[in-house]
Amino acid sequence: MELRDLSFRPRIVDALNRSTFETVADVLSRDEEQLCGTLKISAKDAAELVHACVQVITCSLYPPKTALQLLNDAAHCMLSTGDTEIDKILGGGILSRGITEIVGESGTGKTQLCLQFCLTVQFPKELGGLDGGAVYISTNGMFQSKRFNQLTNSIQLHHSCMRNKDLTDNVHCVTVYNFEVLRNIVYCQLPVLLSRNNIRLVIIDTITAVIQDAFKDFRKRAIEIFCLSAKLKEISDKFNTAIICVNQVTSDALSKEGFYEPLDCDDKECWNYAQYYKQMLLLGDGMKIPALGLSWSSVINTRISLSRPLRTLKETICTMAKDPRVITVMMAPHAPKRAGQFYIDNDGLHGVVCNSKNNI
């Protein structure tokens, strides 16, 4: 919000014109004493300036909704995967707002799941869709259109209501190769695109490499991660759009011992870094954890991991599925940690019905 769009007393306007202040944020990031000093205005004028800025910023927040209104508005709904069993594991699907991360080693089905979401998002609400289109931002080569067509045909075969729709027309694809372009798309182009089209899902496949390549300095990287995700969440709320970010894995420092900070506390283990890693550890052959570290983990709302189970686990599986994989809700604000098996065939991802509880 620009300061020149607001009206103040002439002497405050003069003081602002003389200064380098441009936005409301410039005023609100200083306390009143500093404003007096920097702008050379009286305490009373400073208070008035702050008050006006506060009003401008907060007017859109009032009146707040009550939780009851949120419930009645169905503020959060679920986007189905198109498979009942997998939906059960995920607690109904993925959230229609906020950032959902899909993480896993290569070849575990991350992109397959994303392609499937591009189709299910177009389902009517009764079928667990959001009745809208999708944007697919790919950072590792072209959109897999061949596979997408295959899935489209299968969906149209199984759901008669989708037959008359052109499902490919509702998926907007873009390929980016570096972080600058990705940022440009998220900050400038995406809001325009979403304001003109009925889009309910944005996928970034994958977020990992562009960020890792662009920032070697960890502090800088963390700040960029927080900025980008704040913008994505803002877009998600404004346009009521689900965001999926695909993340890769890394075999980071699990072997390191002794990560703790005493901080005058007897219970040293509570600061233990290894405990964090242990929680984030994926199923699979290696000691793999999601890439991009703790900062990225702090910005996502939901984390879903896909993995191929360990061999010993594989042997105990009593299903007919040829190549069973595991989908795990690592963390989610709406669902407990839970895992289940699935397999992929021509028609997409399918959950394996499991009678015994498969809590991890």
């Binding site: 927040l61 707040p64 990560f259 900070e261 901080l263 709302n301």
Partner: protein
């Protein structure tokens, strides 16, 4: 009106140590401190900005920081239970005490949002069940306040209360209508919202809890540490004022960050609460939620009032109904 010139600082309700520092720096009369800013005062007398500010505030109010006994008793009687006895004990016996700021920090997925939701519901527990019978303001900066989950925990709470009292007047709709939800998209918005929170609280005097989930998220987008510290300090001060004057509890959720330790190289990496020390001044209690293997624990690592506490780590669990005690507490030493 007394003449400010004639009032000796020693006559005011300032700590002896602070008076000595003020005297050493040449401050004798109230008049001398009239123009002082927290920053200049802190440099002059060699104390933290926070402490300088508290001196100035104390002088400006020129009154004893007294609370009536009734209000103290009220605060202590009507705390907000977490539904985990262990955590309640850490926080002083009955849960989150009104009039204070409490911080919960922990890694993603440990249950900070779940705790926030549970408290927003529990603040409404009626007086006859020793709850504060209030309302809650939930300030969501991350978008993790999922309404279906709130309803689920509310139902769990109703079920639990019905075990104690037959036909309690508590139902899902009333609970949900007493939680006011603000979604915040940057820290300037957060600062502005907190700045004029008074107005809202005057209109809604039943609000006894403000949850900010999380305080850290938007501040971590700011590159300039001095700006970050400054705005954070403004917010922390305002929250202290609000907590005190409206007799409500403020619960801050905080994220964890990586700390690259000292001289021993990059290998010496530890976890630490985000945002540095700015918050710790304002929070009377700081609780770390952490995991050991698959179990969840809460650890009190800063407390203003309870230094004598023997056990500082307790186990808790999150189930469908919300935050609960563990049925069979396992020995933390194992």
């Amino acid at each position: 009106m007394r003449d400010a010139r004639s009032i000796l600082l020693v006559k005011l309700n300032i700590k002896p140590g602070q008076i000595k520092k003020l005297h050493d720096a040449g401050y004798k009369f109230l008049e001398d401190l009239k123009e002082a800013s927290p920053l200049s005062l802190s440099k002059d007398i060699g104390v933290s900005v926070q402490e300088a500010l508290s001196i100035i505030r104390q002088i400006k109010n020129d009154k004893l920081p007294s609370a009536s006994l009734t209000s103290i008793i009220k605060r202590e009687t009507y705390a907000i239970p977490t539904f985990c006895n262990g955590i309640d004990k850490l926080l002083g016996g009955k849960g989150v005490t009104l009039g204070k700021i409490v911080e919960f920090c922990g890694i993603p997925g440990i249950g900070k949002t779940q705790m926030g939701i549970q408290l927003s519901i529990n603040v409404q527990i009626p007086r006859n069940l020793f709850g504060p019978e209030g309302e809650a303001v939930y300030i969501d900066t991350e978008g993790s306040f999922i309404i279906q989950r709130v309803a689920e925990i509310a139902n769990g709470t109703i079920a639990r209360l019905n075990e104690t009292v037959e036909g309690s007047p508590f139902n899902l709709e009333t609970i949900l209508s007493r939680i006011y939800y603000f979604r915040i998209h940057d820290y300037i918005q957060l600062n502005a919202l907190i700045k004029n929170m008074d107005e809202f609280l005057n209109e809604h005097p039943m609000v006894k809890l403000i949850v900010i989930d999380s305080i850290a998220f938007h501040f971590r987008t700011e590159l300039d540490l001095s700006v970050r510290t400054r705005v954070l300090q403004m917010i922390a001060q305002k929250l202290e004022d609000i907590a005190e004057s409206f007799e409500l509890a403020v619960v801050l959720m905080n994220q964890m960050t990586t700390k690259f330790g000292g001289n021993s190289g990059p290998d010496n990496t530890t976890l630490t609460p985000a945002l540095g020390d700015v918050l710790s001044e304002a929070c009377s209690d700081r609780v770390l939620l952490f995991r050991r293997d698959e179990e969840r624990f809460a650890h009190l690592f800063k407390s203003a009032t309870k230094p004598e506490l023997q056990i500082t780590s307790v186990q808790f669990q999150i189930i469908k109904d919300g935050i609960r005690d563990c049925p069979l507490p396992s020995d933390p030493g194992q």
